[in-house]
Subunit: 285 residues, 4 copies
């Protein structure tokens, strides 16, 4: 079955929901999933609609053009994804393997609907993991300077026609222009329950502050470090028995789960960004 | 603002969503919330739609009649609730006070949108709590026999024009005919994570089985004990340090929270029963 | 049964555990519970030991004196609590009732082993709740100035021989000298997952930051606002459907639970403060 | 550092704790961790004590002999583990890879202190995973009959000098004699929150029952299917949007986490079995 997903947002007004469902209903599409949310605080409308596009009478171009006309009327901000176009995802890592292992195993097992054409790192350490999964590994150390290193990374992302960049414990801060180019297409995992413990060494700081839960946060990268729209968070209960090293080890479980859930939501086109927040729709599965 | 909530279910078919949203859109209603869910496994469609009915041009009767016509076409099973008709809720208890306190405090604080005209018990113990909250308390002990006692309870429920019966740790099994009369309108709290530990003494049995989490389950009462449709569940992590008495004490927190959440979902007309399951819609709040 | 609880901390060294257990064993005490924790990061030793003191041969004074000798040898910092001396707890509130209701119901039900001789507020609103539970209510508005108001509060705490002050959503910042006088004896509930969202309006800020979980934190009050040692925390998963008002309502559940758990741990003499952290021992129950 | 862990249980009596701590203290051992628990309901004493054995004056044999004398006096049931003897762990699988991937990645990353000399399966499917991690893979299909197949498995376990058998979604029921031989040394993951949904197809049955949380349970295998002592459990909140297939996919996260936590507790000698329950000590890390 070929499916199309439309992600839509606009200022709220009467009749939007009916207009959009009618649009697909009149064209005899079967609506597989439809979620809508109206944020009454922001007076903003959000929608995800997934239709069966197997027996489409018109071309995709024609459908999108017709939808554009509707979109103009209601000032919709929208995007459309077709299920036969797989997302191409690059993973950036440094020395820590747990998130990388988790993503690769999930992708192999069919949990993540994406191709992973390459893994990029600033350290050689995880080449062994890439090899285990037979994925090309590129190592660009920071020796030659941050700017040059980033240029190489960005060139490679373009060359491989990448749609999504996942920072799976990549311990480098990306430049503003990198983030600008990839706005809404870089997912980072931060090893703390943001906005608590932004920046470096969150587990040590969590220890010193004596918190009773530690967490992890997956978010879209933004220019302000650790300030981008949050996609997913989770926490683990801890107690006085954990040293900073213990918190770090325990925290890995949270990081893996949170990053995988965020990547999955993105790959399934369930995330809409509005201001600095995300609407993450759930769907029947 | 006067609001109307429609709860709808029917076998899935093309165009339902558009037809229903159009129904309200054409009549110029503002749709406040709309959730729909299609269960692909059961091929069944569920919907909750909440509209602003303040400036309605027609009578409620007329609207419902018109909706009936639509309903026939799609074989909709539906019900409609108007926000100016408050649910009248009776609470049945035995000797344990924690759920009762919690419900009464929440209702007073405006968290539960219901009137509580009376509390009924088979023991005199909790009259003191009813008095604290100035709610009439009726005590019908079991001495005179279960049948007679139930008759009195049921007479009172009818007399007070009750819409919802909440069993807040009422330690009596209701008869089949009682449950029949009140199908889908009795919410019970079971002090275990159903279907584990159905029946009596769940905490002792949880101790003996050595489980690492205990829970609570709020469900609609059914003729088969502890088998009715589940509305809400929760668990608490426990360890070897808890004796059966300790589990019981800790479990109270779960019971309170789960029962309150289930009652709230029911009062907000967010629950649809299908077979032995519930669809519990969430809404913006 | 009369019980004695010893809370002990000291720099770690060989033989402490054996020395302390021997101390009680030689005097033929039955050790009911014994928890010890060595923080290898801080090289510090913590212990809670609870003994059956029903058939004590010597006076309490004599026992404490003998323990002092041991304490000097190992440089123990310690305190001792006797189960027949009930903690006297004052509750300070403003306008929000949910934590107050929860604490009062738990105390009545025997969950909190404390006397509650009075409730103090800077607003008259919650007098009705105090009346429901027949607890004296004192209202000191802020009109006459913060300093005078605090003096009256402190005079009352002394007059009633209070051991523990619980700030159950008391929306006033206590002065440094108040906190100094009551160091380690004031428990506050903050309606956020500290250190995230310190200060005012945490729910609004949580909404704007788009977090996917909200929380609550119970901590000992310290001079630096919201910086004191954390006793208990918890979080609730939220999503885009919650407005700031919705977060606030949902968050109440967390606040109640977290504050009650922290107060309970304190009343059961299970908390040791070290630097800005707490060791919270669990015990068989 | 060489460490020794003693796991001890016995009927409770006065002075045990002091006697054991004194035993190690007199011999000038540094006690690294000491946890004790007295189950007042069962009147039973449990203890885990971990000591630094680097500078031991006597032989291990001598120490264990001396401890035996103490053990006789208090009727201790005990075992002792030395940190330089690594646990040898066999993993049994069928066709599902997620738990296998998770265990292998954790072991490689140093989270699980064990050697994994082999993987055994009744299907050839997961040989690819074994190859990725360069671990010998043995496939014994069921064609030749259950008895013969089990014989081969057991012979291999003996040949490889295995200490612990982990059933990582091995979809065969082991014979009574197999389980007898390996009592307390086989850890199984069940894909439900036991005792709910014992036996086959738990996710389908969870769907049909309409539970609001699904779970996973790691337990020691026993002759009665799914009835052995539980080591670890966890749950995930679910809603009406999940079909049986969706529950199965979501549940994998729970299974991985729960199995890993249970295996880790076993490898760190933190688990004591008593009747059909486990005491799982936590330790500073």
């Amino acid at each position: 079955m070929i499916k199309a997903v439309f992600l839509i947002q606009c200022p709220d007004s009467k009749g939007i929901l009916a207009a959009i469902t009618e649009f697909f209903s009149k064209r005899d599409f079967n609506i597989l999933h439809c979620q809508q949310h109206t944020d009454s605080y922001e007076q903003h409308f959000f929608m995800r609609i997934e239709v069966d596009a197997s027996d489409m009478k018109t071309s995709r171009k024609a459908l999108e053009d017709e939808f554009s006309t509707l979109a103009e009327r209601f000032k919709l901000d929208w995007s459309c994804y077709w299920s036969d176009k797989k997302t191409r995802m690059a993973i950036l890592v440094s020395k820590t393997a747990h998130c990388l292992y988790d993503l690769l195993a999930r992708q192999l097992e069919g949990e993540l609907d994406a191709e992973i054409p390459l893994i990029i790192s600033n350290h050689p350490d995880l080449e062994r993991v890439a090899n285990q999964f037979r994925i090309p590994f590129y190592c660009f150390p920071m020796d030659e300077g941050k700017e040059k290193q980033e240029e190489k990374v960005r060139a490679l992302l373009r060359k491989f026609d990448i749609d999504l960049v996942v920072l799976a414990r990549y311990m480098q801060i990306l430049s503003g222009s990198f983030i600008d180019e990839w706005k809404g297409k870089i997912i980072n995992i931060h090893h703390a329950f943001l906005p608590a413990f932004q920046g470096a060494n969150p587990y040590l700081r969590a220890y010193e502050r004596g918190v009773k839960m530690i967490g992890a946060t997956a978010h879209y990268a933004s220019e302000d470090l650790d300030q981008g729209p949050i996609i997913e968070q989770d926490v683990i209960r801890v107690n006085h028995e954990l040293t900073p090293a213990g918190l770090k080890e325990i925290g890995k479980d949270s990081e893996k789960r949170v990053l995988a859930a965020a990547v999955k939501a993105h790959l399934e086109h369930r995330v809409i960004i509005y201001k600095n927040r995300t609407i993450v729709f759930s769907v029947e599965r």
